[in-house]
């Protein structure tokens, strides 16, 4: 199937009557996923959004339930958002990140209804990356600029139009309902060419990384590797696969809400015990946890690396702590960064 770029706004407008539609919109110098009221608000050529798509499913701040408590009992209301959604213009790395987060919010024992209900009610329409940025390394972590994992539909930008490739049944249905024209052989060939030419030039060699991390928890390398890190939350909040959160009460007396907020393993209070003891008392332990979590613990638990190579942490770290360099340092050789 194929849809011309000119038709996208009206296609989105039609979707808006049936779904909550989210798409990247311009906010100053960057784009963010926002619910749109008009198809023309979507900015589809702005590269990856500043904040990852996770914020739609796992918002930075979310009310878990409200309560009204008296001595007779407690009235709890937990509004689980089950509105039908379409997220339009997701990049493949972000879509893949959701499949990783699914492991966490749907683990061997518990299900998170807030996240999972949104996931189940959302159709993800992706746009492949014709010109991956120099900070992208998706192909080094099992992804790719046209990877379809997690997506329902994939759009391939062929210049004036998008070639539409259904991935799931949900996506196929959406595309059929939209009545997109059939793609000609020439269109398909154009899409294939685009895919072929989209080269992720940056490779991060992860061979042997896991084996190193399996044994190097006490290695002196950790004494130095974190040294410039400021211990802020920028990399974790911007990371599509980071999922840590805090739960707080926002209340006046006994009427209020329980809220969850993004939290970060970079913060000292994250792990401070009630007794005052802190198992990760310095930035060294905290930075090590960030790396270990993504490249060892997550692999041990779910057989996947918890990094999709989106490059957000690289571009946004205030001190240029580059995860590619850190990983190379850990592997014990020089980084190979093509730029």
């Amino acid at each position: 199937m194929i849809v011309s770029k000119k038709e996208i706004p009206s296609f989105l407008d039609k979707l808006i009557s049936d779904y909550q539609v989210f798409a990247p919109v311009q906010k100053g110098s960057y784009t963010l996923f926002k619910q749109i009221c008009s198809g023309t608000d979507a900015v589809l050529d702005g590269g990856i959004t500043k904040l990852p798509v996770k914020e739609i499913f796992f918002p930075q701040s979310e009310k878990l339930f409200s309560y009204n408590v008296t001595n007779e009992g407690a009235k709890l209301e937990a509004p689980v958002d089950d509105r039908k959604k379409v997220v339009f213009g997701v990049r493949p790395c972000d879509a893949r990140s959701l499949t990783l987060l699914d492991n966490v919010f749907n683990n061997d024992k518990y299900q998170d209804p807030y996240y999972l209900t949104r996931r189940n009610n959302t159709i993800l329409v992706g746009i492949g990356c014709n010109s991956p940025a120099s900070t992208c390394f998706c192909t080094s972590v099992n992804g790719g600029p046209f990877d379809t994992k997690g997506l329902d539909l994939l759009l391939v930008d062929t210049g004036d139009a998008y070639v539409v490739e259904p991935v799931s049944d949900k996506g196929k249905e959406l595309a059929e309902k939209a009545g997109f024209a059939a793609a000609s052989d020439a269109d398909k060939a154009a899409a294939a060419k685009v895919k072929e030419e989209a080269v992720v030039s940056c490779r991060v060699n992860t061979d042997g990384l896991k084996a190193k991390l399996d044994v190097n928890f006490y290695d002196p390398i950790w004494d130095r590797i974190h040294e410039k890190c400021l211990g802020c939350g920028a990399c974790t909040y911007l990371c599509p696969t980071c999922h840590c959160f805090d739960i707080v009460d926002d209340a006046v007396d006994c009427n209020g809400c329980r809220v969850r907020n993004w939290d970060s393993c970079a913060f000292p209070l994250f792990t401070l015990h009630g007794s005052g003891h802190n198992p990760r008392s310095t930035n060294k332990e905290r930075y090590r946890n960030r790396i270990m979590h993504k490249f060892k613990y997550f692999v041990d638990n779910f057989n996947e690396i918890a990094c999709v190579g989106c490059g957000r942490c690289i571009k946004n770290c205030p001190v240029n702590m580059d995860i590619r360099v850190v990983l190379e340092d850990i592997r014990g050789s020089e980084a190979r960064l093509d730029s």
Binding site: L64, F65, Y67, V69, T70, N71, E72, G73, A74, L76, A78, V80, V104, F105, N107, D108, K109, Y110, Q111, D112, P113, L116, T117, F217, Y218, H243, C244, F245, D246, I247, V248, D249, A251, V252, D253, C254, N255, G256, R258, R260, D263, C265, F270, T271, L272, H273, G274, S275, H277, P279, R280, E285, N289, M292, H293, K296, Y297, F298, D300, N301
Partner: protein, 279 residues
């Protein structure tokens, strides 16, 4: 889909000052309905997130035993927001309880074995649950000798005086209490837990040791247990990392790849030996 974030409202029926220094209170919470009680089926060693509405929630080990129907008990040290609010709470107030969470002491494995319980300070909470569970007349026959070594700085800091008095008299359990320094009227032992454990020298034959207490106590008791011949697979500990969600999602309680809330808090020494020392 069950919402694991929703607490069960329960009534605080007793706010009891447990220790002489008043820093530990034991709270008895009553279910509001029979249904609620049925929905909360737990085992010794599990914990729950207790919430004071308007303040927040915090994890506490369940001190009551499933063999004690109708209520839950928690013994709480006053350290911060939630614990202080609990201490100040009037009887009759509604609190929330979310759980039961985590795994529990392997009571099935204990069957036919001798069990040595070693506790220090106020970390005795889930050990009370465990001992009470095993001492229940329906279950006592499942286990061999039950030895409890329990110590505190002074007699006023020992928890659960009623239970201790009863155990003292009971032929079903061998209770050894100890305090750090001698005081008038004290009839138990005097000395630190590691030394007392060495004196008592419980046999490791066909036995499990369960140990909970402050890190120093654990550190110095561990070699004693090893000397007595307890293999790491039969030394059982309960960890207390900082927690929020209790369901393996919020990310803070991990020790290596294990989440203490979901995969613990009960671990064998052997399991912990495989993990980094981040606890």
């Amino acid at each position: 889909m069950k919402n694991p974030y929703l607490p069960l409202p329960m009534k605080l029926v007793k706010n009891f000052t447990e220790t002489e220094d008043k820093l530990i209170h034991t709270f008895t919470l009553q279910y509001l309905s029979e249904e609620d009680e049925k929905s909360f089926s737990y085992m010794p060693g599990q914990f729950a997130e207790v919430c004071v509405f308007g303040k927040g929630e915090a994890p506490f080990g369940i001190a009551s035993s499933p063999t004690e129907p109708g209520f839950l008990k928690f013994s709480v040290a006053k350290v911060g927001v939630v614990s202080t609010a609990l201490h100040l709470m009037e009887e009759g107030t509604i609190v929330g309880v979310r759980g039961p969470l985590g795994n529990y002491y392997p009571v099935e494995e204990f069957k036919g074995k001798n069990v040595v319980i070693i506790g220090g300070g106020f970390a005795f909470t889930t050990l009370r649950s465990l001992a009470t569970y095993m001492l229940h007349p329906d279950r006592r026959g499942d286990y061999g000798d039950i030895t409890v070594i329990y110590g505190a700085r002074n007699p006023g800091l020992l928890l659960y005086k009623e239970e201790l008095a009863a155990w003292e008299k009971s032929p079903d359990i061998n209770l050894i209490t100890t305090i750090d320094r001698a005081v008038d009227g004290w009839t138990g032992r005097v000395g630190f837990i590691p030394a007392v454990t060495e004196e008592v020298a419980p046999s490791s034959d066909n036995a499990y040791a369960i140990i909970c207490g402050p890190p120093v106590m654990i550190k110095f008791t561990m070699p004693v247990l090893e000397k007595l011949g307890f293999p790491p697979e039969r030394i059982i500990m309960s960890l207390e990392n900082r927690m929020k969600c209790g369901i393996g999602m919020c990310g803070r309680c991990n020790v290596g790849g294990k989440y203490v809330c979901k995969d613990g808090p009960v671990f064998t020494r052997a399991q912990l030996n495989e993990l980094p020392n981040e606890y």
